[in-house]
């Protein structure tokens, strides 16, 4: 069992999720 798995997953999801949202923002600005 990996210790503190929830913290690790939360950090990676928030970082890569945040970067993905920025990519979507760039695509939308490119389209407008």
């Amino acid at each position: 069992m990996i210790e503190n798995l929830g913290f690790i997953v939360a950090a990676y999801v928030l970082v890569w999720g945040g970067l993905a949202v920025y990519v979507i923002s760039l695509i939308r600005r490119r389209g407008s």
């Binding site: 210790e3 950090a11 990676y12 928030l14 970082v15 970067l19 760039l26 490119r30």
Partner: protein, 233 residues
Amino acid sequence: MIETTTAPFPTIRVRPWLGVLATLSSVIATFMALVWAPTDAVQGDVYRILYVHVPLAWLAYLAFFVVFIASLGWLLTKRPWFDALAVASAEVGVLFTGMFIVAGSIWAKPTWGVWWTWDPRLVTTAVMFMMYVGYLLLRSLSTDFSRRATRAAVLGVIAVIDIPIVHLSVLWMNSLHQLPTVMRAGGSPSIDAAMGTTLLVSVVAFTLVYLAFLAERMSIELDRQRRMFEARA
């Protein structure tokens, strides 16, 4: 006198490749960070968060240093290309700073027992974040292109002073935050080889992500400038 002909961004042809390379290297870096790298003897597995926290912090420093160089470029030459570079790098830098503060906070809870503490490194980082959020807000205060670019450039030159303060704050003051492990004066990196390799791959991945974001954001800004100059003509 403002040079109104905005030449195409030189790396425009490599933009799709940058995106592909950034995605592939990020997948490899994430696999190495979560699976391949060994568990830390002291911190356990939670230290794996540092494989995103540390590269994002270094790339944020780089992004704000690029803002400084581009701001000087605008002030000295008045070429709009420099203003586009400055705003693009500032925006990505703010994004990366927000991300590494969040990742650091999530790492701190199981390690230090708190989400946030008024530690010199954390406070100076928060100040850096607010300064560059202010830089982006300042840009929305004027619709006059030249005035806006000049005001922003002055702040972009001044704000860079916070980068060495953030990095050296752990040496200058008593700090809960750990001392530099890799970028330290007078010594080689004190890090396990497999962990060092994983960190290096993560730094390469986030550098490619930074370059891909910078190229795309800059291209959008140059298009905006071109439309503005065409409307004026």
